[in-house]
């Protein structure tokens, strides 16, 4: 029986696409002042992979590049969504980035605290717990 490698190729592209997207969006949004440049680059890369996916005769390469195309186009929109997470305080702001510094000054919900840097404890945190934690870090 011949093994069909397309599933593994698609799995690899999906995992890498999601992982790289996840890490890249958070890191680039944190460091970049003008989000238009990374947004355009992501979009252009996504479209590039999309065109390649349509033109290549290889089914495996078409599958992988099609998945990269869609995830990159999605990620190009994630920069703005990540900025929104910074505004509402669900992702930590970087005070050394002037765009984030402005958000920190204008939005009382924004914070430099990374709320997710902890292990689950099996119990709900009270508002007092969270406030004490936030003050401790800031």
């Amino acid at each position: 029986m011949e093994l069909n490698l397309i599933g593994i190729a698609a799995a690899l592209a999906t995992f890498l696409g999601v992982w790289m997207g996840h890490v890249t969006v958070r890191k680039v949004e944190r460091e970049t002042v003008d989000l238009r440049t990374p947004t355009r680059i992501m979009l252009a890369l996504g479209i590039g992979f999309g065109v390649f996916s349509i033109l290549t005769p290889s089914l495996i390469l078409s599958a992988m590049s099609g998945i990269f195309a869609m995830t990159l186009v999605w990620d190009s929109h994630e920069f703005i969504r990540q900025q929104e997470r910074i505004r509402i305080g669900r992702a930590p702001a970087n005070p050394n980035n002037s765009r984030h510094a402005k958000i920190l000054a204008e939005h009382p919900t924004a914070t430099t605290v990374d709320w997710l840097e902890r292990e689950p404890r099996g119990d709900l945190y009270s508002a007092v717990d969270l406030m004490a934690f936030k003050e401790g870090v800031e």
Binding site: I6, G7, T14, G66, W115, L124
Partner: protein, 110 residues
Amino acid sequence: MNWFGLGLGFATLFVIGLGFVWVIRGERYFGYLWWPYVLGAGILFIFGSLFISNYWVSALLGVFGASLIWGSTELKEQAVRSEIGWYPFREKKILPPFARFIKKWKAPSL
């Protein structure tokens, strides 16, 4: 012109979107300690895709398997998100077999 890849990419977006739903719901009712089982299921799906000759079915099994592996690494963070009140928290969880041992392992988070 070959539309297989873009069609698959589009389907992948839905599978990833579905991932958000089952990670949130799954963590709420079952807890994050199921992560090794979810990881194992993902690997099995991908391994199984090798033996499916239909391209669409094999590729979608692979995509689904990869999203299970990714989801297994998201469960721990999701547990924290619900404990700090961003998502509804449910104290009673349906724990997996060997939960006592799994608790001692470091849950993956990417």
